[in-house]
């Protein structure tokens, strides 16, 4: 590669333009300076989603042998252990049936109450299943690429869960793939609450496996082992999605042991969510009608 104005020659007689190399350096620096997830220009977003959409089939292909290895792993175990596991799973299934019935019963009850009170609840649409295509737990970003995009109904901000709990939310949506920012990422901020006491907090990722609970009030009623769920306070995701269990670290700060960590994140569900629009207040309603009133007043003054 040509450095310092000269071109390099070797047995392959290679010559590379110094100007072009310098231009590429500058382009890299410009990209680093301007490509920010929070304020990404549409052009860069378009380039990124196009690249991920195009590479999705290739990544799926690369992940296939890994999934196959993962699937044959139980066959290594001896038959006795498999039988025990089977019995345990049947027992859990029976328990789950009871909870499913209870959930359906409560849902029906809630619908009746909502109709009686004329209340509109947060709309949860059909969940969208997707395989993980790419997995990045690097030092700069913790994210997953999943095989569902705008064509399947995925939108930016949608929460993503695995079989145990929430893993993150969609931050980039292509046509056939989406990027999920993990709860553990530095840029992740999710409003949560304790299921038992409704104590509010913000779940803040810090690149560790246990994200922190920040902005707790001093007298917040929080205990070790409290179930943490989404509070939906930001209006961008539903209330009550399972997140994890509260626990104190060595410094006494509250952190969350994520439910989703119980298994490798392979198959996930995206929960499209339509937030309820805020009600129009009386002041806003008056402001909306104000221009007409002003015009009338001006007209009257003119006469």
């Amino acid at each position: 590669m040509a450095i310092g104005g000269s071109s390099r020659r070797n047995d392959d007689d290679v010559r590379f333009s110094r100007t072009f190399t310098v231009a590429l350096f500058l382009l890299s620096i410009i990209l680093i300076a301007f490509d920010r997830p929070q304020s990404r220009p549409p052009l860069l977003s378009g380039i990124r989603t196009t690249i991920t959409d195009l590479s999705a089939p290739l990544l799926d292909l690369a992940a296939a042998p890994v999934r196959a290895v993962g699937n044959i792993e139980p066959y290594w175990r001896n038959q006795g252990r498999l039988a025990e596991e089977n019995a345990e799973l049947r027992r859990r299934l029976d328990e789950t049936r009871y909870w499913r019935d209870l959930a359906l019963q409560l849902r029906d009850q809630r619908e009746v109450y909502e109709q009686a009170l004329n209340v509109e609840s947060q709309a949860m649409e059909e969940r969208i299943g997707a395989w993980t295509l790419g997995d990045s737990d690097g030092p700069f970003v913790q994210s997953r690429l999943i095989g569902a995009g705008a064509r399947s109904g995925v939108e930016d901000g949608d929460p993503v869960l695995n079989v145990y709990g929430m893993i993150g939310r969609v931050v980039e949506t292509g046509q056939v793939s989406s990027r999920v920012l993990m709860l553990t990422d530095l840029n992740s901020r999710i409003p949560v609450m304790a299921d038992r006491s409704n104590a509010r907090a913000v779940l803040v990722g810090d690149n560790t496996a246990y994200p922190r609970l920040e902005f707790l009030t001093r007298d917040a009623d929080l205990q070790d082992g409290d179930r943490i769920v989404t509070s939906g306070d930001d209006g961008r995701m539903p209330r009550g999605l399972p997140v994890g269990l509260a626990q104190r670290d060595r410094q006494g700060r509250w952190r969350v042991r994520l439910f989703s960590d119980q298994a490798p994140i392979d198959f996930v569900w995206v929960f499209p969510f339509t937030p309820i629009p805020p009600p129009v207040t009386e002041t806003e309603a008056v402001e909306d009608t104000q221009p007409d009133g002003d015009e009338e007043q001006t007209a009257e003054a003119g006469q």
């Binding site: 590669m1 450095i3 390099r8 070797n10 047995d11 392959d12 007689d13 290679v14 590379f16 072009f20 190399t21 590429l24 350096f25 382009l27 890299s28 620096i29 410009i30 990209l31 680093i32 490509d35 920010r36 997830p37 860069l44 380039i47 990124r48 690249i51 991920t52 590479s55 290739l58 990544l59 292909l61 690369a62 992940a63 890994v66 999934r67 290895v69 993962g70 792993e73 993980t132 295509l133 790419g134 997995d135 990045s136 737990d137 690097g138 030092p139 700069f140 970003v141 994210s143 997953r144 690429l145 980039e172 990027r179 920012l181 530095l186 840029n187 690149n207 490798p264 994140i265 392979d266």
Partner: protein, 170 residues
């Protein structure tokens, strides 16, 4: 008139280079932990870039290094330009040291790769830290670097074995 055999571009090798670079990017980004495997992935794109730039330097112009770095940035979900800048800097510096003639033996090539790694990783770490506004964790990069350093000779040996005289890329 048909060009002489020596000047015809080796399309097969070019295709092989493209496939190996794309494959290295795909395996680097693939979710290997879904099978319960360890979180240990060498920097396959850098290894592949380095081997091709040693075997066939003309296949790896700066634009290819830039594009591979950029694709790695996008596929890993990071800010664009971090790995592109790191790879460009490292490869440019180590290539410039070949002015006196490229080394073809595995030992010196391995050392040159280690130098490339030692240049690329701190640049990526520095750029990444600037982007996230705080010191990025060192451990993941350290693990990736050690895995890359250990895996490099194994991959490089495959290329050497294909050449009966033991010459690397000759």
């Amino acid at each position: 008139m048909r060009p002489p055999i020596e000047t015809r571009p080796p399309f097969g090798l070019i295709a092989w280079a493209v496939i190996s670079l794309m494959g290295s990017l795909a395996f680097y980004a693939a979710p290997l932990r879904i099978a319960g495997g360890p979180d240990l992935m060498p920097m396959l794109p850098l290894i592949t870039l380095f081997i091709w730039s040693t075997v066939r330097p003309r296949f790896i112009p700066p634009i290819v290094i830039f594009v591979v770095g950029l694709l790695q940035d996008v596929l890993s979900g990071g800010v664009m330009g971090i790995w592109a800048l790191a790879y460009l800097s490292a490869m440019t510096i180590t290539r410039s040291r070949e002015e006196e003639g490229p080394t073809r033996e595995i030992g010196p090539v391995w050392i040159r790769f280690l130098v490339t790694l030692i240049i690329a990783v701190p640049i990526a770490w520095g750029a990444g830290s600037l982007v996230i506004g705080q010191m990025a964790p060192v451990r993941p990069l350290l693990i990736e670097s050690v895995a890359s350093a250990l895996m490099f000779p194994l991959i490089a040996l495959l290329f050497i074995r294909r050449r009966p005289r033991g010459a690397f890329g000759s």
